[in-house]
C-alpha cells in the first residue's frame, strides 16, 4: 500500500498507456480480447482514481501523492505529478467517464483495435493534464489529448465528421499557438527558468507589462477548449460528429481541460491578472450561458442541443471561476465534475437511440419513452441534471456559482439564473418532442438497452445522484485547496 501511495498517480497515468500497449499487441481480429483488455484497464484506472479519492487528505491544500523526478534541469523541466483538491475531482471524473465510455462502445465492430488504441492515448493525455504539476508535461499531455480526437471523430463519426474533426483540431491547436508563448513566457518572465507550477505560483512574480498578454493568452488558449464564447463553434460540431463514447469523453472530460487550465495555470500563477480580467471572463461566461442556451433551443438535432447545452454549462464553470470566491470556485469545480458526468449520460443515451433509429432529428423522433423507457429515462435524468434539478450533482454546483455571481455582479448573476429557465425550455422541448407523445410506428420494434449496456448509464446516473444527495462529499475535498486559492486571490491587488 505504501508503494501504491507513493506511485498512485503515475500508476493511474500508466493504466491507459499499458492499455495502449496491450491493444497494440493483440491482433486486430480478436476484437473481444481487445475490448476486454480495454475494459479491464479502464476499470483499473477507475478503481485507482476512486482509491485516490478515498485516500486523499482533505485537510490540506498542499499537493498530495507527489512524485518528482529530475528531467531536464537545464531547461527547467521536472517530472512532477501531484494533486490537490482542485484536480482530484477531475481525475475521478476521467476515471469514471473512461470506464463507462469503454463499456458504451462494447458493440463497436468497425476497426476496434484502432479505436481503443486512440482512446487510450486520449485518456492518457487527459489524466496527464490533471495530475501534472510541471508546465512542460501539462502541455505535453494537453496536446496529446487533442490529436486522437481528430481520428476518433473522423473515422468513427457521423454527420460531417471530417469537417468537424478538422475544425475541432484546428481550433484547439490555434489555442495552443497562444499557449506556447504564454506557458514558456511564464517561465521566462518569472526569471526562475522553471516550469514547476508550484514554484511559479509561489514566486509572486511581478509580470510587468507582459502579465496582461500572457494571462490573456492563457485564458484564450485554454478557454478555446472550454468553449468560451465566441470560440465555441467547434464544440457542438465535434459533439455531433463524434461517436458516442467520444462525445462522452469530449464533452465530459476534454472540455474540462480548458477550464482546468485556466484555473490551474491562469488563476493560480497569475492571481493579480485574474483579478484584473475577471469582469471580462464573467461577461463572456454569461454570454456562454445565455447564448448557448438560446442556440440550443433552436436546434433540430438532438446532439446539437446537447452540444450547445455544454457551451452553456461551461459558461457556468467560467462564471464560477470569475467570481474568485470560495463558493464560486467550489461551484465551478463541482460543475466541471457534474457536467462531465451529465453530458456523458446525455450522449450515452443519444448514442443508443441513434444506433437504432439512425436519426437524431428531434422532429422525426417521438414517443420513444414507450419504446425505449430505459434510454429515455437516462436522457431525462441527464436533462434534469442539466436544468439544475436538485438531488442531482449539478444543482449544487449551479447554486453555489449563482449565489457567488449574484454577490459579485448581481446583473450577471440574474442573467445566468435566467439561463436556467432557457435550459429548462430546451431540455423539456426535446423531452416532449422526442420522448413523449404517441409512439411512432417507425420505432415500434426498436430494442431498449439491455442490462449490460445499461450498466455504464446506471453508473453515471448513480454518480450524479450520489453527489446530488451528498454534495459535502465533493465540497469537503475541495475546501482546503479552494480556500488557499481564494486567499491568494484576495491578497492580490
Amino acid at each position: 500500500m505504501a508503494w501504491l501511495d507513493s506511485h498512485l498517480l503515475t500508476s493511474i497515468l500508466l493504466c491507459p498507456v499499458i492499455g495502449l500497449a496491450l491493444t497494440a499487441l493483440i491482433p486486430a481480429s480478436r476484437t473481444g480480447a481487445i475490448k476486454l483488455s480495454a475494459a479491464i484497464v479502464s476499470g483499473i484506472s477507475c478503481a485507482l482514481s476512486i482509491l485516490l479519492w478515498q485516500r486523499f487528505d482533505p485537510s490540506t491544500s498542499r499537493l498530495q501523492f507527489t512524485e518528482r523526478m529530475e528531467w531536464l534541469p537545464d531547461l527547467g523541466i521536472t517530472y512532477i505529478v501531484g494533486i490537490d483538491g482542485l484536480s482530484l475531482p477531475m481525475v475521478l471524473l476521467t476515471g469514471i467517464v473512461f470506464f463507462t465510455g469503454v463499456l458504451t462502445m462494447w458493440e463497436l465492430e468497425n476497426r476496434v483495435k484502432e479505436y481503443f488504441a486512440f482512446t487510450m492515448a486520449l485518456v492518457a493525455g487527459v489524466f496527464g493534464v490533471f495530475i501534472s504539476q510541471d508546465l512542460f508535461f501539462l502541455f505535453l499531455f494537453y496536446e496529446l489529448a487533442v490529436l486522437p480526437m481528430y481520428l476518433l471523430i473522423a473515422i468513427w463519426g457521423s454527420t460531417r465528421r471530417e469537417y468537424a474533426a478538422m475544425k475541432l483540431t484546428l481550433f484547439l491547436l490555434a489555442g495552443s499557438a497562444l499557449l506556447f508563448p504564454a506557458l514558456i513566457g511564464l517561465s521566462h518572465y518569472s526569471g526562475l527558468n522553471t516550469f514547476d507550477l508550484t514554484l511559479l505560483s509561489d514566486a509572486n512574480t511581478d509580470w510587468g507589462g507582459m502579465g496582461i498578454i500572457i494571462f490573456l493568452f492563457l485564458y484564450l488558449g485554454f478557454g478555446v477548449l472550454a468553449g468560451i464564447f465566441p470560440f465555441h463553434t467547434w464544440s457542438p460540431v465535434g459533439h455531433v460528429a463524434a461517436p458516442t463514447a467520444v462525445s462522452m469523453l469530449h464533452a465530459g472530460v476534454l472540455m474540462k481541460l480548458g477550464s482546468y487550465g485556466v484555473l490551474r495555470v491562469g488563476m493560480q500563477v497569475m492571481p493579480e491578472e485574474m483579478v484584473r480580467w475577471a469582469p471580462l471572463i464573467a461577461a463572456l461566461a454569461v454570454c456562454n450561458i445565455l447564448y448557448g442556451a438560446f442556440v440550443a433551443l433552436g436546434q433540430t438535432d438532438l446532439k446539437y442541443v446537447i452540444g450547445y447545452s455544454s457551451v452553456s454549462h461551461m459558461g457556468v464553470v467560467m462564471l464560477g471561476l470569475a467570481t474568485m470566491s470560495a463558493a464560486g470556485i467550489s461551484g465551478a469545480v463541482f460543475q466541471m465534475f457534474a457536467h462531465g458526468i451529465m453530458t456523458a449520460l446525455f450522449f450515452s443515451s443519444i448514442g443508443h437511440i441513434y444506433d437504432h433509429t439512425h436519426t437524431r432529428e428531434i422532429s422525426r423522433l417521438g414517443g420513444l419513452f414507450t419504446t425505449m423507457p430505459r434510454a429515455s429515462t437516462v436522457f431525462i435524468i441527464a436533462g434534469m441534471a442539466g436544468i439544475g434539478v436538485p438531488c442531482l450533482a449539478s444543482f449544487w454546483a449551479e447554486l453555489l456559482v449563482f449565489i457567488a455571481a449574484v454577490k459579485k455582479w448581481p446583473l450577471a448573476g440574474a442573467l445566468a439564473i435566467f439561463g436556467l429557465v432557457v435550459s429548462a425550455l430546451f431540455v423539456l422541448r426535446v423531452v416532449q418532442r422526442s420522448f413523449f407523445g404517441p409512439e411512432r410506428d417507425d420505432w415500434k420494434d426498436m430494442p431498449d438497452m439491455g442490462n449490460f449496456m445499461a450498466t455504464p448509464r446506471v453508473i453515471l446516473a448513480a454518480v450524479l445522484l450520489l453527489f446530488g444527495f451528498a454534495p459535502f462529499l465533493m465540497l469537503d475535498q475541495l475546501a482546503a485547496s479552494v480556500d488557499a486559492l481564494v486567499q491568494v486571490l484576495e491578497a492580490s491587488p
Binding site: F294, S330, I403, K407, L420, V421, A424, L425, F472, L475
Partner: protein
C-alpha cells in the same frame, strides 16, 4: 422515537419508495404499490406524531450538508405549529389519495411508476414543509416541481399531457427565477455567523427580520422590498397566480388523483405555505405586501370568472383552485397569521374531496363535460354526489361549512381601513365562487337527461376516459367511494377546527372566531345568496335555460372561456420573444461567428494558393527573387 427520527421517517419513507423503484423494484408493480402505501401510511403517522408531540418551543435539528468558506447549507427539520399543521394536511391527503389511486389506477400498466412518483411528490412536499433551511425548502420546492412535471405528464404518450407538463414546469420555473435570485440576495445579506459563513436557516432569517438586521438598501430600494418581491415571484409561479397561472388548468392532463393532491395539499399549496412561513419578511415591506394583495385579489376575481363559464368539470375546479389560492394569499398578505393558512387547510379538504368525486363522475360518465356528466351520471352515484354536495357547499361558502368558516376569517381580516378595495374584490370573488360552485352542482345533480350537450369533449378528457374505460369496477370502485365518503365527513367537521388550529400555531383562538352578528358575515351571506341564487336561476331551478347569464354577453363569455387570453399572451411571448431570441442567436452563430471563423480558414487556403504561385516554374525569376530578398534584407539591416 425522537422528533428528528420521526422527521426523517416522514420525509424519507416515501423517498425510499421512489429510490427502490428506480433501483428495479419498479418491475414488480404490486410490490411497488404495497411499498408506496406503506410508506404513505408511515409518513402520515409521522406527521401526526410530530404534530401531537410538538414541544411548546418548537423543535429544530439540522446538519450541515454543503459548506464552502463563505456559505453553508443545512438540511434538517424545523417543527413549528405551522409546519406540523401543514405536514398533517399533506401527510393525510397524500395517504387518502394513495388509497383512492389504488382503485383509480388499478388497471394502468405503468402503475408502479405512478405510485413511485406520487411518493416522491409527497416526500418533496413534506420536505418543503419541514425544511429548516431555506435552501432545503428550495431544493424540495424544485423537486415538487419535478414530480408534478412527471405526474402531469404521466400519460406522456398523449401530446397534450406532455405539453401541459412542460408548461407547468417552465412557468413555475419562470417564477423560481425570482425566487432563486431572492434567495441568493437574502443569503448574501444575512448576518455572518461565527464561522465566517452565511446561511439561510429559516429560524435565523425570521430572527434577522425581527431584529431588523436586513434593513438596508439594495439597488436603491429597501432590502425587504427587493428580496420580498423576488421571493414573491416564486410564490406566484407555484401557487398559480396571475400572470403565471395558466399552467394549472392544463395540469388537469394528469390522472385525477394527481390533480386532487396537486390542488389541495401539495405543489400549489407550497407557494402559500412559503408565504406563511416568511410572512414577517413580506410584511416588513408595505410595497411587497400590497403587491401581493393586488395580485391575489385580481387573480381571485379573474379566475373565478373563468370558472363560471368553463364547461369542463376538472377545469372549473382548477380555476377555482387558482381563485381560492388567491384568497389564502390575500389573508396572509393582509397580515393575518392564521386566516390564509386556515383556508389552506379547509381548502385542501374540500378541493380534494371535489376532485376525488370528479374522478368518480368522469370515470362513470366517460366524459369530463359537466352537462355530459349530469346527463349520464347525475345523482346516480351516491358517494360522488355526496362528495360534490359537501365540497361545493363548502366552496361556495355556505355558512357553517368549512370553506365559509375559513374564508370568513380572511374577509374579516380584509375588512379594515386601508384594505377596502381588496375587501370588495374579495366579496365579488366570493359571489362568483358561489355562482360557479352552485352551477357545477346544479348542472350535474339536477340534470335533465333529455338535455343535449352543446359542448364537445375536449381532447384530453376523451383520452382520460379511454383510460377509465378499462376499469373493471368492483373492489376498485368501492375503494374510491369509501375514500370520498370518508373525506366528505372529515370536510364537514373541518370548519370547526379553527380554534384548535390557532391554538396549535400558538395563536389566540379569537383570531379565527367568527362574529356571526357582524356586517361582514351579512355581506358574505349576501354574496353567497346573490351568486348562488343567480346560478340556481340559470341552471338549477326546474325549467332553467341551462345557459349562464353571461351568454348574454358573448364577448365577455368568449374571453372568459379563453381564460382571459392569457395563454395567447404567453404563446406570444414564446413565439415572438423567445423564438426571436433563439433565431437571432442561431443567426449570429451560423452567419457571424462560424462564417468568420471559416473565413479565416478559407483565407489561409487562398494565402496558400497565392504563396504557391510564387513557384512560377521560371528559374530566372527564382534567382531574381532570391537576390531581391537578400538585397531587401541588407537594406533593412543598414537602415536599422
Amino acid at each position: 422515537m425522537s422528533l428528528s427520527q420521526w422527521g426523517l421517517l416522514t420525509i424519507g419513507a416515501p423517498l425510499v419508495t421512489f429510490v427502490l423503484f428506480l433501483l428495479g423494484v419498479g418491475r414488480r408493480p404490486t410490490l411497488t404499490v404495497a411499498l408506496s402505501l406503506t410508506t404513505a401510511a408511515l409518513a402520515c403517522a409521522g406527521t401526526w406524531a410530530m404534530a401531537i408531540t410538538l414541544p411548546e418551543a418548537g423543535y429544530q435539528a439540522t446538519t450541515p450538508w454543503a459548506a464552502t468558506a463563505d456559505f453553508s447549507i443545512h438540511l434538517g427539520i424545523r417543527l413549528t405549529g405551522l409546519s406540523t399543521a401543514m405536514g398533517l394536511v399533506v401527510g393525510t391527503i397524500h395517504l387518502l389519495v394513495q388509497l383512492y389511486s389504488l382503485g383509480y389506477m388499478a388497471t394502468d400498466p405503468a402503475q408502479a411508476r405512478y405510485f413511485a412518483v406520487l411518493s416522491l411528490f409527497a416526500s418533496a412536499m413534506l420536505s418543503v414543509v419541514y425544511a429548516a433551511d431555506l435552501i432545503q425548502t428550495f431544493i424540495a420546492w424544485e423537486l415538487v416541481g419535478l414530480s408534478s412535471y412527471l405526474l402531469i405528464g404521466f400519460w406522456n404518450f398523449k401530446p397534450s399531457a406532455a405539453q401541459a407538463a412542460k408548461k407547468a414546469f417552465i412557468m413555475t420555473r419562470f417564477g423560481d427565477l425570482g425566487l432563486f435570485l431572492g434567495l441568493a440576495l437574502l443569503m448574501l445579506n444575512m448576518p455572518v455567523e461565527a464561522g465566517g459563513a452565511r446561511n439561510l436557516l429559516i429560524a435565523l432569517i425570521l430572527e434577522a427580520v425581527a431584529n431588523n438586521d436586513l434593513a438596508g438598501n439594495l439597488f436603491g430600494y429597501d432590502q425587504h422590498t427587493v428580496i420580498g418581491l423576488l421571493l414573491l415571484c416564486g410564490i406566484v409561479g407555484k401557487s398559480a397566480q396571475f400572470p403565471l397561472h395558466s399552467w394549472l388548468p392544463d395540469a388537469m392532463e394528469g390522472p385525477t388523483p394527481v390533480s386532487a393532491l396537486l390542488h389541495s395539499a401539495t405543489m400549489v399549496a407550497a407557494g402559500v405555505y412559503l408565504f406563511a412561513l416568511l410572512q414577517p419578511l413580506f410584511l416588513a415591506s408595505s410595497i411587497t405586501s400590497t403587491v401581493a394583495l393586488g395580485i391575489a385579489s385580481f387573480t381571485a376575481v379573474m379566475a373565478a370568472g373563468v370558472a363560471m363559464v368553463n364547461p369542463d368539470m376538472k377545469r372549473v375546479l382548477a380555476w377555482s383552485s387558482i381563485s381560492q389560492l388567491s384568497f389564502m394569499l390575500m389573508g396572509l398578505a393582509a397580515g393575518s397569521e392564521v386566516a390564509g393558512f386556515f383556508h389552506l387547510v379547509t381548502h385542501a379538504g374540500f378541493k380534494c374531496l371535489l376532485f376525488l368525486s370528479a374522478g368518480i363522475f368522469i370515470h362513470l360518465a366517460h366524459s369530463g363535460d359537466l352537462t355530459e356528466i349530469g346527463r349520464k351520471v347525475g345523482s346516480r352515484s351516491r358517494a360522488a354526489s355526496l362528495g360534490l354536495l359537501v365540497g361545493a357547499a363548502s366552496l361556495a361558502g355556505v355558512p357553517a361549512m368549512a370553506g365559509f368558516m375559513s374564508k370568513e376569517v380572511i374577509l374579516a381580516q380584509l375588512h379594515q381601513p386601508g384594505y377596502e378595495g381588496f375587501y370588495w374584490l374579495a366579496l365579488l370573488g366570493s359571489a362568483m365562487t358561489a355562482y360557479y360552485a352552485t352551477r357545477m352542482a346544479a348542472v350535474i345533480l339536477r340534470s335533465d337527461s333529455a338535455a343535449v350537450s352543446h359542448h364537445r369533449d375536449t381532447e384530453q378528457t376523451k383520452q382520460e376516459v379511454d383510460h377509465d374505460s378499462n376499469h373493471q369496477g368492483g373492489l376498485a370502485d368501492s375503494i374510491m367511494a369509501m375514500t370520498v365518503v370518508g373525506l366528505a365527513l372529515v370536510t364537514l367537521g373541518l370548519g370547526w377546527l379553527g380554534p384548535q388550529l390557532a391554538g396549535h400555531l400558538g395563536l389566540d383562538a379569537e383570531l379565527v372566531a367568527i362574529d356571526w352578528d357582524s356586517m361582514g358575515v351579512g355581506l358574505a351571506v349576501t354574496a353567497l345568496l346573490a351568486g348562488g341564487g343567480l346560478a340556481w336561476y340559470d341552471y338549477g331551478r326546474t325549467g332553467a335555460y341551462r345557459e349562464g347569464f353571461l351568454s348574454g354577453l358573448p364577448a365577455i363569455e368568449a374571453m372568459l372561456k379563453d381564460g382571459w387570453h392569457m395563454d395567447r399572451c404567453w404563446r406570444w411571448v414564446s413565439d415572438k420573444i423567445i423564438a426571436g431570441l433563439t433565431l437571432s442567436a442561431l443567426f449570429i452563430d451560423r452567419r457571424a461567428i462560424d462564417r468568420s471563423i471559416d473565413g479565416v480558414a478559407d483565407g489561409a487556403r487562398s494565402g496558400g494558393v497565392l504563396a504557391a504561385s510564387l513557384q512560377s516554374g521560371r528559374l530566372q525569376w527564382y534567382l531574381s527573387l532570391t537576390l531581391a530578398v537578400l538585397a531587401v534584407a541588407l537594406i533593412l539591416l543598414e537602415w536599422k
